[in-house]
């Protein structure tokens, strides 16, 4: 935490410390909340008697809204100077969305809740990234993002455990009440962060910005290459866990659910353990090495899933997913900040990368499902390993080092 005027948002040491802690806990609670809006919604709506087509439509509506909002929401966050206010409103909308699911799961309201959630996810992510950039400055952003990712993974794990227990012991509806309740601590963490929005802090941040035009930012070759790499990554990665989980239910007996839970939790544990280290490496050794490490996990995972039959070993392969997830989670906002951090369009660039990732994930899920249907699971995994290898090659050959020069 440097005392240079361009970092820390101009805050004093004590305020800076509480703001840092606030950001940690914000990441944790937001990850908690987001766990409730995942695949669990399909489970809940099924028990409400929704048909599969209707559920698919509602979920697609959320996905499409999120993808369409990535870039506009990023621009919106760029345009507002009070990022913590944006975060607060986004979290309140999450709360409303969760309550709608709990109280009134009729189609119109569910569509509304899905769209609200999709849009708010696209404003909250950039707001958190922007607050991280304001707190850490460009030279220690890697460390800050490493902390973000660590607390987010802890939040994911705790959230899954809490919500899973709630759904199992109480009811599916109670899970959404719990999700809404979890927004309260999230809002509380924003209080120290709101000092970043004070006029004095904002002046500091503005002074260090060198505004560029939107076209200039989006046409930046480093941004475009990274977006292409990220798209290929998600193309390979998006369907690996779902496909492996389905394969687990085919092979494992009564413990299949437990093994799938382990498949979800193990990467999160790895992320929590590794992220500060990776953030530090990104700062000291450079971005490329962290990127390559993460991308290399993809073809490795795909190949192992394709050849391994033993369900317990399949769970262990998910440890590699932890390394990849750490790398990806830190690198996306980091490279965006490297490329566009001082241009005044940081969140737009982040939204653009998010949009590319969304396309990759959607295409990847469809492609993997199609290959698995026609040629079987091992072929699908091998195909995704091949795409992962291509992505790694692209990073190796084309992705430049984006770490800012010291001084």
């Amino acid at each position: 935490m440097s005392k240079r005027p361009c970092c820390g948002g101009g805050l004093q040491a004590a305020a800076l410390h509480s703001a840092e802690r606030g950001l940690d806990w914000l990441n944790l609670f937001v990850a908690n909340i987001q766990t409730g809006f995942g695949p669990f919604i399909a489970v809940y709506l099924t028990t409400q008697g929704w048909t599969q087509t209707a559920i698919g439509f509602a979920l697609s509506l959320g996905t499409v809204t999120a993808m369409a909002s990535q870039v506009p929401a990023g621009a919106l966050v760029d345009a507002t100077s009070r990022k913590s206010l944006v975060a607060m409103l986004s979290i309140l909308v999450f709360s409303a969305s969760a309550l709608i699911f709990a109280l009134s799961p009729v189609p119109l309201f569910v569509y509304l809740a899905e769209m609200l959630h999709g849009f708010s996810s696209c404003t909250l992510g950039p707001a958190i990234a922007a607050m991280s950039l304001a707190l850490a400055g460009r030279t220690t952003l890697g460390l800050r993002l490493g902390r973000n990712v660590r607390y987010a993974s802890i939040g994911n794990g705790v959230g899954a455990a809490l919500l899973g227990a709630c759904g199992y012991l109480i009811s599916n509806q109670a899970v959404f009440f719990l999700t809404a309740a979890l927004t309260l601590p999230a809002l509380a963490t924003l209080k120290p962060l709101s000092r970043l929005d004070a006029p004095a802090a904002r002046r500091e941040i503005r002074e260090t910005a060198q505004r560029q035009s939107v076209a200039h930012v989006l046409a930046n070759s480093r941004l475009l290459i990274f977006a292409a790499c990220a798209t290929l990554f998600q193309l390979a990665n998006a369907a690996m866990l779902p496909l492996a989980s389905v394969a687990l239910t085919k092979r494992a007996g009564g413990i299949a659910s437990l093994l799938i839970a382990a498949c979800v939790v193990l990467p999160q544990v790895m992320v929590a353990l590794l992220s500060p280290l990776m953030g530090r490496i990104a700062e000291t050794r450079g971005r490329r090495i962290v990127l390559l490490l993460g991308f290399l996990m993809l073809p490795l995972r795909g190949l192992l899933f394709a050849v391994l039959a033993n369900p317990e070993l399949v769970v262990l392969v998910q440890a590699l997913d932890g390394i990849a997830a750490t790398s990806f989670g830190i690198m996306v906002p980091l490279v965006a900040a490297d490329v566009a951090g001082r241009s005044g369009h940081f969140n737009l660039a982040l939204g653009f990368i998010g949009f590319a990732i969304g396309i990759g994930a959607t295409l990847g899920t469809t492609l993997a499902g199609w290959i698995a249907d026609r040629f079987g699971d091992p072929t699908a995994f091998a195909g995704m390993a091949a795409i992962g290898a291509a992505a790694t090659l692209l990073v190796w050959c084309a992705m430049p080092e984006t770490r800012p020069e010291p001084g």
Binding site: A42, A79, L85, S245, V246, G254, A261, D373
Partner: protein, 177 residues
């Protein structure tokens, strides 16, 4: 954005939530849009929608169903022969002459990750309307079903459903269109 406004508009958000609650209470009076698709062989008409005054009277050919005589099964749990939870019923496959042929179960997974749809022959199911939570019982064990192919209906290809286990001469899975 705006300056000088220190606190977010709590009142606006609370007003929105209250409005949603009121609208929900109003919507609950209207007929439910999602009606159960599955029905036992006898047609079961829905209860008459609540009508305001000076509207036509309900149809004359109403039948009534005792609460324990029949149960809606979409979204309800299926138990296997040993009592384990298999997942909810998500669809019913009906033949042209009106007889249910198979039930589709959303099987397995954790918190929604890793679930798979499996179709099982209707003759393998028993129904217990008394148990509102898990009214469907499958005559097979989970282990016999877990490796079944996923149920994916297409226009041209026949779908695979899990049939009765090979007793003396019956083949295993039955192909149905």
């Amino acid at each position: 954005m705006t300056r000088g406004r220190a606190n977010p508009p709590h009142g606006v958000v609370l007003g929105m939530l209250l409005t949603l609650w009121v609208v929900n209470a109003w919507a609950a009076d209207a007929p439910a849009p999602a009606s159960p698709a599955a029905a036992p062989a006898a047609a079961a008409p829905a209860p008459p929608p609540q009508q305001p005054a000076a509207q036509p009277s309900p149809p004359e050919n109403l039948e009534s169903l005792a609460p324990d005589a029949a149960v809606a099964i979409l979204g309800k749990k299926v138990r296997d022969a040993s009592g384990h939870d298999m997942g909810p019923v998500v669809d019913v496959v009906v033949s042209g002459d009106g007889h249910p042929v198979a039930a589709v179960i959303d099987f397995g997974g954790f918190l929604g990750v890793g679930t798979r749809k499996i179709a099982v022959d209707w003759s393998l199911l028993q129904f217990k309307p008394v148990d509102r939570d898990a009214p469907v019982v499958l005559a097979l064990d989970r282990a016999m079903v877990q490796a079944a192919p996923e149920y994916k209906p297409t226009v041209q290809l026949p779908v695979q459903i899990v049939g009765p286990p090979p007793a003396a001469k019956d083949p295993g899975p039955t192909d149905q269109k």
